[in-house]
């Protein structure tokens, strides 16, 4: 057992650190924080292009498709430094989700057509899995795709579609057969958002912003060439993607950064004449989370090491998802305690000078939107069902 870094590892860490310090500049960060959708999107694209130019846009893709070919250790170092530097994660739908499906299960033509634009962030993707009637029971989905010549005609609706209003493409699970088990009649389609019949309806969320949507499909024609793999086998491809997605959403380093930010904020808050961070009860609230994060960081390393030696992320990814999202929410909840009554002040209600307080609104936004983390990617209860079945054999 040995987790010590080699001199090459340490040099790599320094290179990553230096790159983030230089390239993730303050001007870019201010645009990334914008609530103006197009300003935000432009800033994200710009950042991801910088990563692409550097060759680091896809740490977890194979080299032959434009990935870095990094070892598990280097992926871990990169992810840790990213989180600690407060650098936003890439938008996951292309790079962390459909990209893996396309290079694993797609045709050569599909790889040539889609992968370069995903890597270069020239095309934005969104995910069409959940439906108004199909949440945790994803396989019960009803959006229909009926073969008509060289096209499918797609009818139905997808929901909770993050960034659908910014996306160029959507990857969808659709029903191509109602025969047999419900998992067996599903196909995996790539749909151009500009296709006639696609309609995006915004959904306002409890964080007071707009990132979620409902996407309607009214007789949308999709070329059969845009189907991944075989017809009716989409569930297999979707499951592979979900395991990958869950591993990626633990975001341990981001939670560590969040907790260290809380420590800074709490140190500056005066509570009964003392720094809040000197309050033993508050200290224990921080260490409750820090200790779990120290453990989860090693759980993630153990999963990475297993994957590196030839395994695939299986039910362990469910564990990472559950603990990772629970801890994200714990960090967000603690930030709310630090913000005290300022958590309730709505954005734009007061000028910065009138408010005299900088993080309450941001804390609330993260806290409210953060409720989604234990729901998306398969709710944590569904993850527990997966562990009960796959690991405990129940």
């Amino acid at each position: 057992m040995d987790i010590s870094f080699t001199p090459e590892d340490l040099a790599f860490r320094d290179e990553v650190r230096a790159f983030f310090a230089e390239s993730y500049d303050a001007e870019l960060q201010s645009r990334l924080a914008s609530h103006e959708p197009q300003v935000f999107k432009q800033a994200v694209v710009e950042w991801q292009k910088r990563l692409h130019t550097k060759g680091w846009i896809a740490p977890d893709w194979p080299v032959e498709y434009g990935g870095t070919g990094w070892s598990a250790t280097w992926q871990f170092i990169y992810e840790t430094e990213r989180g600690l530097a407060g650098v936003r994660n890439v938008v996951p739908f292309g790079l962390k989700m459909v990209g893996h499906v396309i290079y694993t299960f797609g045709t050569q033509a599909q790889k040539d057509r889609f992968l370069p634009a995903i890597l270069a962030s020239d095309e934005w993707w969104c995910q069409g899995y959940s439906e108004p009637g199909s949440g945790s029971d994803l396989a019960s989905l009803k959006t229909r795709a009926v073969r008509d010549g060289d096209d499918y005609v797609v009818t139905g609706a997808k929901i909770w579609t993050t960034y659908a209003h910014l996306a160029d493409w959507i990857f969808c699970l659709v029903r191509t057969s109602t025969e047999g088990k419900k998992q067996e009649g599903i196909s995996f389609l790539l749909i151009d958002m500009k296709s006639p019949g696609v309609k995006v309806n915004p959904i306002a969320s409890i964080d007071n912003y707009h990132s979620l949507n409902e996407v309607e499909f009214n007789d949308v024609r999709v070329p059969v060439a845009n189907r991944i793999g075989e017809q009716d086998k989409g569930w297999t491809y979707a499951k592979a993607l979900l395991a990958h997605e869950r591993t990626a959403i633990a975001e341990v380093a981001d939670s560590k950064r969040g907790l260290s930010h809380i420590r800074q904020l709490a140190a500056a808050e005066v509570n009964g004449g003392k720094s809040l961070m000197a309050d033993p009860i508050f200290q224990s609230r921080v260490s409750d989370i820090e200790i779990e994060l120290m453990a989860l960081e090693f759980t993630e390393l153990r999963v990475l090491a297993a994957v590196a030696s030839g395994g695939t992320p299986g039910a362990e990814s469910s564990l990472l998802k559950i603990k990772g999202t629970e801890l994200q929410q714990a960090v967000q909840a603690l930030a709310m305690e630090v913000a005290a009554y300022y958590q309730g002040v709505l954005p734009n209600a007061l000028t910065a000078e009138q408010l005299g307080h900088s993080f309450g609104s941001k804390a609330r936004q993260s806290f409210m939107y953060g409720r989604a983390a234990t729901i998306y990617g398969g709710s944590n209860e569904v993850q527990k069902n997966i562990i009960a079945k796959a690991v405990l054999g129940l």
Binding site: M1, E297, K384, L392
Partner: protein, 382 residues
């Protein structure tokens, strides 16, 4: 980066596992627990023959020169078997103090005996008032001609009733809770002036209280520097804390495995109770608690081995988690076994009691969390 064990380590782990499988059934364990010595001399000889007693010692004394990883692997298996024999007291505490701070003469005299299984040792550090504070020492040692005179009382001395020799922490200078001014002394249990009161704890182990009245110890029996014993015992206790955490993890995984097996066979309402989602999710929680504990255990072992991060903070964190996760796991194990979980006949309650004792060994979760907070956040305390 790898979490693999060497071939030698796998063989070591498997040899302990095989011993428990073949020779240390729960019935055998209960027979030993009820015997006069609460340990088996025969099994202890086996430990010596198989080389387990040599693991933490340097090769120059005939030891194996093992690492924290080796200790972890052995302790985890001993936990699974709920083993009573005093590996912690004799090998890791008494032996660890000698290995880390004993004079060449003391090492040469005692370490080979420990390795051969011919010496039972103990470390007497707790006092009536001390709770978990290692530095809270009232037992006094005053210099006399050729040595020291010890007076005071030590409580809950692990293996105290069976030990031939004991290392005692005593105050040679300073105030009651000062870290400075503590010295360690090795003495024979038969020394004039030592009174021993042996008794059993809820986990089956035999411990003792020691009253020392004008016990004279030769100067050569001081372990470590005068007045500087605290750092030595702190270092050894830190290693031993990792070791009992490994034992706890072995127990927790055993409890989970037994509970899982029970829910697969126990039927109510016409189906196995393991088919109920309410119970499945609770078993997933206990499974995750074990995985998180294993991760922190590995982290602590790495910190103790390669020094990439502060081992003290990591071991504190580990002991906090062993407290929380352990209580969750044994609580659910008893609950899911229903009425059977309450019976003394079943092993579940005995595993639970050992976990409870481990929780109080070297400080409970709250104690370690306060220490963790102090290490990590003390800059905010001005």
């Amino acid at each position: 980066m790898n979490f693999e064990f060497t071939q030698e380590q796998v063989m070591l782990r498997d040899s302990v596992a095989r011993f428990i499988q073949d020779d240390y059934s729960f019935d055998e364990r209960q027979r030993i627990a009820q015997s006069d010595t609460a340990m088996s001399a025969e099994h202890w000889s086996t430990f010596a023959e198989l080389g387990w007693l040599s693991i933490p010692f340097a090769e120059e004394h005939g030891g194996f020169g093992g690492s924290a990883v080796d200790v972890m692997l052995v302790m985890e298996q001993l936990g699974r078997g709920l083993v009573l024999e005093p590996y912690l007291a004799t090998t890791l505490l008494f032996g660890g103090l000698l290995q880390n701070g004993g004079s060449a003469a003391l090492q040469a005299e005692y370490i080979p005996q420990i390795i051969e299984g011919k010496c039972q040792g103990a470390f007497a550090y707790l006092e009536r008032q001390s709770r978990y504070e290692l530095a809270d020492v009232l037992t006094s040692a005053s210099a006399v001609d050729g040595g020291y005179r010890l007076d005071g009382e030590k409580v809950v001395v692990f293996n105290g009733a069976n030990a031939d020799h004991v290392i005692v922490s005593a105050r040679t200078s300073g105030q009651q809770s000062e870290e400075s001014g503590i010295s360690l002394f090795l003495l024979s249990m038969n020394s004039p002036g030592v009174e021993k009161l042996g008794y059993r704890m809820m986990d089956g182990q035999l411990v003792a209280n020691l009253v020392m009245k004008s016990v004279v110890v030769p100067a050569a029996n001081r372990v470590g520097e005068l007045d500087q014993g605290f750092a030595l015992m702190q270092a050894v206790v830190m290693q031993a804390t990792m070791a009992v955490a490994a034992e706890a993890l072995g127990i927790m995984e055993q409890l989970n495995a037994k509970t899982l097996e029970y829910t697969r066979t126990r039927k109510q309402f016409g189906v196995t109770i393991g088919s109920f989602q309410a119970l499945q999710h609770r078993m997933v929680d206990t499974f995750m608690a074990c995985e998180q504990t294993r991760s922190l255990l590995y982290r602590a072992v790495c910190a103790l081995t390669d020094g990439n991060e502060d081992p003290a903070a990591t071991v504190h964190a580990l002991k906090v988690m062993v407290d929380r996760a352990g209580k969750l796991v044994f609580g659910e194990a008893i609950q899911l076994h229903g009425g059977m979980g309450i019976t003394d006949e079943l092993d579940i309650g005995h595993y639970a009691k050992r976990l409870m004792m481990i929780n109080t060994t070297f400080g409970n979760g709250d104690f370690h969390q306060a220490r963790f907070n102090a290490l990590r956040y003390n800059t905010y305390n001005e």
